[in-house]
Structures are given as structure tokens and as C-alpha cells.
């Protein structure tokens, strides 16, 4: 008797509560199950090495296995006093500055021209973007050959127009610029595509209105196209700076960091400290100094974007 009464009284409230609880529980199980595979890899190959790297940076761990004693901050102290570390960091920043400017401006120029409604669009897109599909090693092979002092095509052309040959990869003053040329050829097509996509999304009505007001091509470009591309430009610059700071492949392959360390970048220094010098602990410490730099740059850029868009 009593049980039936209980049931009847509880009936309106409890099932709703239960259903809600059950749904919440089911969602929790579903949510974590869907996340589980990603989280497993994420934990194992990103979070764990990230933490373990910090641990390594406090030790004298070496590739030969010997001496993994705890050193405290000694590796960091050594790195901050290491002239070679500062030199590679300086080279990296130098490359970042001198590569970002052409990689953004040339991409903008290419996109602006192609967006004028030229015939054979696919052909221009193909030629500007195709190099992006190549592995860094292929690009390096191409350009080491183009830059060859005696047999290279570039010096041959310079000779034909009466200019002196340049020792592209062996002159410390020129080598980094040669890397910039190869990098520009390789990756500008990516920024070009992003700009082109953004330009094609600007409503044509803007241009039609401007045309009615008598604005010419230049005027339209500077007062409609560029302002409309503001967000895109900011994004491209941010991505480019972060990508340039991580440069390693083409330098390592084309100059090996030479001549005399003139093109050695920070990632190469990390690699060499660990794998040529066998000092994993020291190399990990430099990695985190580099990481610190990336964090500072990202925060600075974030602050700038926020101010801009506010």
C-alpha cells in the first residue's frame, strides 16, 4: 500500500529529475569518450614531452646516457652566457624581419594583380602556389644549384647584363638574403592564396559605388581593398612571423648554418647542442628560452590585434 502511494506522489517530480541527471551523465560519458583518442595522443606526444623537457633542462642528461645529475638552473645560466646562442637568436630575428616584409608585400602584389580579373587565372595561381607543395629539401637542391657561383643560372644572368658575380651562399653578408630569396619563392604562394581569397570576398558593390563616384583603380585599391584586408593582413603577418621564427630546414640544407655561423638559427642550435654535442639537457634549456621568445612575441601580437580591433 504505502509503496504505491509513495510512487504516486513522487511520480511527477522524480522521473524529470532522473531524466535530467541521466542525460547529464550520458553527455559526460559521451563527451569524454569522443575526446579520449585525441586526448591520449595529445597527452602522450605534446603535454608529456613539454613537461619532461623542463625536467631534462634541469639535468646534465646527455645522448650517451652518462651524467644525468640534477643541475638546477645551471643550463639556463650557461645558455644566457653563451655567445653562440645569442648569435643564433640574433640571426633568427634578423631572418624574421627581412623575410616577413617581402613575404607579405609580394603576396599582396601578386593577389592584387591577379584579382584584377586577368585571363588565365589558373595559370598564375599554379605558378605562384606550386612551390609551396615542394619539400624543403627539393627547394634547397634547386636553389643551391641556382646560386652556384660558377655554374648557377643567377650569376650567369648577372654576367650577361654586365654585373659582377655574387657568392650567394658563401659570403656572410649575403647568405641570409639568399635564404630569404629561396624562402620567398617557396612559401609566398600560401600568403598569396590567403590574400586572393580575402579579396574575392570583398563585395563588388563597394567597387561599383566607388566607380560611380569616379574613383580610379589606385584610389579603389587604397580606399577599399586595403582597408577591407586589414584583418587578413594582421593574420598573415602574425602567422608569418611565427613561421619565420621557427626556420630551420632550408638554412640547414643550403648553408648548414654557415659561413662561419652567419646563418645559423636558434632551432639549428637546439638541434646541434642535442645531437652533435650530445647535451640533451643543455639543448632542452635552449628550447625553453626559444619557447619563451615565442610566447612573448605571441602576447605582443595579441595585444596589438586587440588594440586594433577595439
Amino acid at each position: 500500500m504505502s509503496t504505491t502511494i509513495d510512487k504516486r506522489q513522487a511520480a511527477p517530480a522524480a522521473p524529470a529529475e532522473n531524466r535530467h541527471e541521466a542525460r547529464k551523465r550520458r553527455d559526460r560519458i559521451h563527451g569524454w569518450s569522443f575526446m579520449a583518442p585525441f586526448l591520449a595522443f595529445f597527452g602522450l606526444f605534446l603535454i608529456w614531452p613539454l613537461i619532461y623537457g623542463v625536467v631534462m633542462s634541469f639535468t646534465g642528461k646527455s645522448l650517451t646516457g652518462a651524467n644525468s645529475s640534477f643541475l638546477g638552473l645551471a643550463n639556463y645560466a650557461e645558455a644566457l652566457g653563451d655567445a653562440d646562442m645569442w648569435h643564433s637568436l640574433g640571426n633568427t630575428l634578423y631572418f624574421t624581419v627581412i623575410s616577413t616584409v617581402p613575404l607579405v608585400l609580394v603576396a599582396l602584389l601578386m593577389a592584387a594583380l591577379v584579382n584584377m580579373g586577368l585571363p588565365a587565372q589558373w595559370l598564375w595561381r599554379l605558378s605562384f602556389f606550386a612551390p609551396f607543395l615542394l619539400a624543403s629539401t627539393v627547394v634547397s637542391l634547386f636553389f643551391v644549384w641556382m646560386f652556384n657561383p660558377q655554374l648557377g643560372l643567377i650569376n650567369d644572368v648577372l654576367g650577361k647584363v654586365g654585373l659582377a658575380p655574387v657568392d650567394w651562399l658563401n659570403n656572410p653578408d649575403v647568405a641570409m638574403w639568399s635564404i630569404v630569396i629561396a624562402s620567398l619563392w617557396w612559401t609566398v604562394g600560401f600568403n598569396f592564396l590567403l590574400y586572393l581569397a580575402a579579396m574575392q570576398n570583398i563585395p563588388t558593390a563597394h567597387y561599383e559605388a566607388a566607380q560611380l563616384d569616379g574613383a580610379g583603380g589606385w584610389r579603389q585599391f587604397f580606399s577599399i581593398t586595403l582597408p577591407q584586408l586589414n584583418q587578413t593582413t594582421i593574420m598573415i603577418v602574425i602567422l608569418q612571423v611565427l613561421a619565420s621564427l621557427k626556420i630551420f630546414d632550408q638554412v640547414y640544407q643550403m648553408t648548414g648554418g654557415g659561413p662561419g655561423g652567419a646563418t645559423r638559427t636558434i632551432v639549428q642550435y637546439i638541434f646541434e647542442a642535442g645531437f652533435t654535442g650530445y647535451r640533451l639537457g643543455y639543448s632542452a634549456a635552449i628550447s625553453y628560452i626559444f619557447f619563451g621568445l615565442i610566447v612573448v612575441v605571441s602576447i605582443a601580437q595579441f595585444a596589438v590585434t586587440r588594440k586594433r580591433s577595439a
Partner: protein
């Protein structure tokens, strides 16, 4: 960082570069000048390819002779290609690259899509924290991880294995967000209808959400595949055995092995470039669209 994440949504909602879109306008002087400038730029951009091709078809003696010739004097020869294919490991490396890149793409796609669906649709405790952690992880530059990851791979006995090449490459937080943004735009009503019918989450995910997401899945797959195919630093670190190298890493060893064989160097470079260039010629439209939609969130 938050701004990085708003970009893909904006671009994916719009129609990206439409190769077929033609705006026929009369040929004004400005457009003639623009065409000339673009043509000059495009030719300049093709020069390294052309020069490599010419060199690869020369005999080794002619390739190394000054003054240089723009057309092989002694005729075109396949010697360099034949030598490279006989001596080197290029077919093996191509297979390694193909297999590992395909595996990276498949795993990345599956785990990222599942995670993105949970983040977009399922209301569970801990979701916000996970979002924050994954956003924060975008800032970690891969080179920072190479030293601890290498050490980890040694203890997992994964040096010189496909596992070692593949596994650390499958985490792509940026792609998770690209997919999440896309899933966010799929009308919930479609799923609610299925839910009422008693369909489970997995079935909704497989039969409702994924079929609607084909374009973005293709875009992400293309982006991830190109990245994995061309990745140099990680395979370079985790492989040693010549039979395990990927194409980009293998080429680097060729370069140091026969440094002055110019024709053979160029022949190997062209053979390595060929697969992706062919893929691009066939899927130009999808690739360009893929890059434009995922590009801003990538790298």
C-alpha cells in the same frame, strides 16, 4: 591567440577562391600592364623548375661545364634519372613518405573530428577547460619538443620505425578548431530529429554530421597530408636507417653523398617533387579551397 581562432570561421563561411569565377572586362591599359607584370612574375617563379629540368636531362659532364647551356648541346638524356633510380632508395623513400603521410592524415582526421564534435555539440563537464588547454597548446612550437620527444621515442623503441615517424605528427589542435567551427554551423535541428528517433551519438556523428562535413574534411585532409609529406625536422630526427627515411630526408642524404653530381641532384629533386605536383594538377580547385579555408588556422 583568440583572433587566430575566429579567422577560419570567417573564411569557411564564405566561398573561398573560386577558380571558375570569371569576370570578363574589356582590356583596359591598366589590365594589360597588370597582365604583363603577372606574366613576368609567373615566368620568374617557374625558372627554378625549368632550370632543374634542363639540368636533369643533361649528361653529368655537360651539367658541370662552364659556360652553361640553356639547351643540352649533346641532346636530352635520361641518364641522370636512370642512375638515381638504380642507385638510390628513391622508390623506397617515396613509399615511406606515402605510407606515413597517409597514416598521419587518417589518424589526425579521425581523432580531430571526434574531438571537434564533442567540443561543438556535447555539453559535458570539463569541456571549457579542455578548450582552453587545446587553445593554449597552439602556442607550442614543434621544435621545442624535439629533444624530449626524441628521448621518449628511444625509450619506446620507436626510433627508425613507422610508428615513430607517424605518432607525434597526429596532434593538430588548429585542425580541431577548424572542424569545430564547421560543426557549429550545422543546424542542430538535423541532429535533434535523429535523437528523437532514438539514434545514438555515434550514429548521428557518422550518418548526419560527417556526410554534411565532406568539404571541410577534405580540406583538412589535404592540409594535413601536404604538411606530413613535406615535414623534414621530425622524420630527420627519428630516422637513421636509410631504408626508413622519408623522401625529404632521403634527398638530404643524396645531396651529401654525391654533392657534385648536378644532373643527378636535379633528377632526384624532380622525382621527389613529381607526386605532389601531379596531385595538385588534378585537384587544383579542392587544394586551393582547402588552403584558403584551413590556411589561417594552420601552422
Amino acid at each position: 591567440m583568440a583572433t587566430t581562432l575566429t579567422a577560419p570561421a570567417r573564411t569557411s563561411r564564405r566561398t573561398a577562391v573560386e577558380p571558375s569565377r570569371k569576370r570578363r572586362k574589356p582590356l583596359s591599359p591598366a589590365r594589360i600592364i597588370a597582365t604583363v607584370i603577372v606574366a613576368v612574375l609567373a615566368v620568374t617563379w617557374l625558372v627554378p623548375f625549368a632550370w632543374a629540368t634542363v639540368t636533369a636531362f643533361k649528361s653529368e659532364t655537360e651539367a658541370a661545364a662552364a659556360p652553361i647551356t640553356l639547351v643540352p648541346k649533346s641532346g636530352f638524356t635520361f641518364d641522370a634519372f636512370a642512375k638515381v633510380l638504380q642507385q638510390g632508395n628513391i622508390p623506397q623513400w617515396t613509399w615511406n613518405s606515402l605510407f606515413t603521410s597517409a597514416a598521419v592524415t587518417a589518424v589526425t582526421l579521425v581523432i580531430s573530428a571526434l574531438a571537434a564534435y564533442a567540443l561543438s555539440r556535447i555539453d559535458f563537464k570539463g569541456r571549457k577547460v579542455l578548450m582552453t588547454v587545446i587553445v593554449a597548446s597552439l602556442i607550442v612550437p614543434p621544435p621545442v619538443l624535439i629533444i624530449p620527444l626524441f628521448y621518449q621515442m628511444v625509450s619506446f623503441h620507436m626510433i627508425d620505425t613507422y610508428w615513430g615517424i607517424i605518432l607525434p605528427q597526429v596532434i593538430a589542435p588548429a585542425m580541431v578548431f577548424v572542424l569545430k567551427k564547421f560543426f557549429d554551423q550545422i543546424p542542430r535541428e538535423l541532429e535533434d530529429a535523429a535523437l528523437v528517433d532514438g539514434a545514438g551519438r555515434i550514429r548521428i556523428f557518422l550518418q548526419v554530421v560527417l556526410p554534411l562535413s565532406r568539404p571541410i574534411l577534405a580540406a583538412v585532409a589535404i592540409f594535413v597530408f601536404i604538411g606530413a609529406w613535406n615535414n623534414f625536422l621530425w622524420p630527420f630526427i627519428v630516422t637513421n636507417d636509410s631504408a626508413m627515411l622519408t623522401l625529404p630526408v632521403g634527398l638530404q642524404t643524396i645531396k651529401s653523398a654525391y654533392g657534385i653530381q648536378y644532373a643527378q641532384n636535379m633528377a632526384s629533386a624532380l622525382l621527389a617533387a613529381l607526386p605532389l605536383i601531379l596531385v595538385f594538377l588534378f585537384f587544383q580547385r579542392q587544394i586551393i579551397k582547402g588552403i584558403s579555408t584551413t590556411g589561417l588556422a594552420g601552422t
